[in-house]
Symmetry: none
Subunit: 159 residues, 2 copies
DNA sequence: TTGACGCCCATAAATACCCATGGTATCCCA
DNA sequence: TGGGATACCATGGGTATTTATGGGCGTCAA
């Protein structure tokens, strides 16, 4: 397995720990990491997490700008500054900081959703709402494009 | 861990000492250093600090200019001349000089922000304002990239 | 002597590690 | 093919260690 896929419902225990699903852990371990990178999404109440690929994506975004340029400095502050490294304990759990939990409105449950190079951490109810919205948008697109989208996408959106 | 990432809120005690967060200390120690390099930013009320990579970055910045050129001399004076080496005490704390504190308007609280090869030291309120600006710009950048096509980059930069 | 600075120790809170448990899926063998 | 044993996993909690912070004391220099 080389991509983060599937959705998992996880719980946070009384200490605030949350297990990372074993398949996700396997990908992290393949990067030689003992921690998960995690940062709040810019515009949505969700966290983005992952391993080396997530970090590489952020690096490449920053490296589009000349060293010491103002844009680069600000991007670095906004992106690197918001990243937290969540150490995996021997059982494969992490602790979400208060800041991260607040951003995603997470209390004691979380939905982890694989999105390829990384995975997202949602508060379960918000995830359901977001998913419903996303499905609705896909439906509209399908209507607009008609026959074009009527094959694979109809399976992807679970209709 | 190989980069300065994340944001930490630290306090200065009555003696003016400030703890360097353990993850930052680990990076400094990896350079074999027992001190932190620190200098005022040229254009913002913030301090830039770090280890060997910070110094290397400053070197390369200066080396962009022709040897013995006036610009180079001035830059070298402005950068090298303003660098202070802040010794780490046995508990991992440093003392900010009056000059550094004045430049960043720091009194008894500071926000330390990882920006990859180095970290920044902000007065907390000023940091919040700066971050809000930076985020706004990142949003704009994201829109620009987003409109180019929804491929890999739209995942890399985090929803 | 006085103040600035470095070292030492103290402490509370946060964190990391250890072991335990119950459930589930898988495997193996009759 | 069925059923028991097994391995893995998510979760729970106790305990040791680390961390950030505070304060005391000695030393060195002005």
């Amino acid at each position: 397995m080389e991509r983060f896929v599937s959705t998992y419902a996880m719980r946070l225990d009384s200490k605030g720990r949350m297990s990372i699903p074993a398949p996700f852990r396997a990908l992290i371990a393949r990067d030689g990491l003992e921690h998960v990178y995690c940062h709040p999404a810019l515009d949505l109440p969700v966290l983005q997490a992952g391993g080396a690929r997530l970090m590489a994506g952020i690096d490449s975004l920053i490296e589009r700008y000349p060293p010491y340029s103002e844009a680069r400095e600000e991007l670095a502050a906004a992106l690197y500054g918001s990243i937290e490294t969540l150490r995996l304990d021997p059982e494969g759990r992490v602790m979400l900081s208060e800041g991260l939990k607040t951003h995603a409105q997470i209390r004691d449950e979380a939905t982890l959703v694989g999105v390829g190079d990384s995975f997202r951490i949602w508060e379960p109810i918000r995830f359901r709402a977001h998913l419903a919205e996303a499905k609705a948008k896909v439906r509209i697109l399908k209507q607009q494009f008609g026959s074009q989208g009527a094959t694979r996408d109809s399976r992807a959106d679970g209709a």
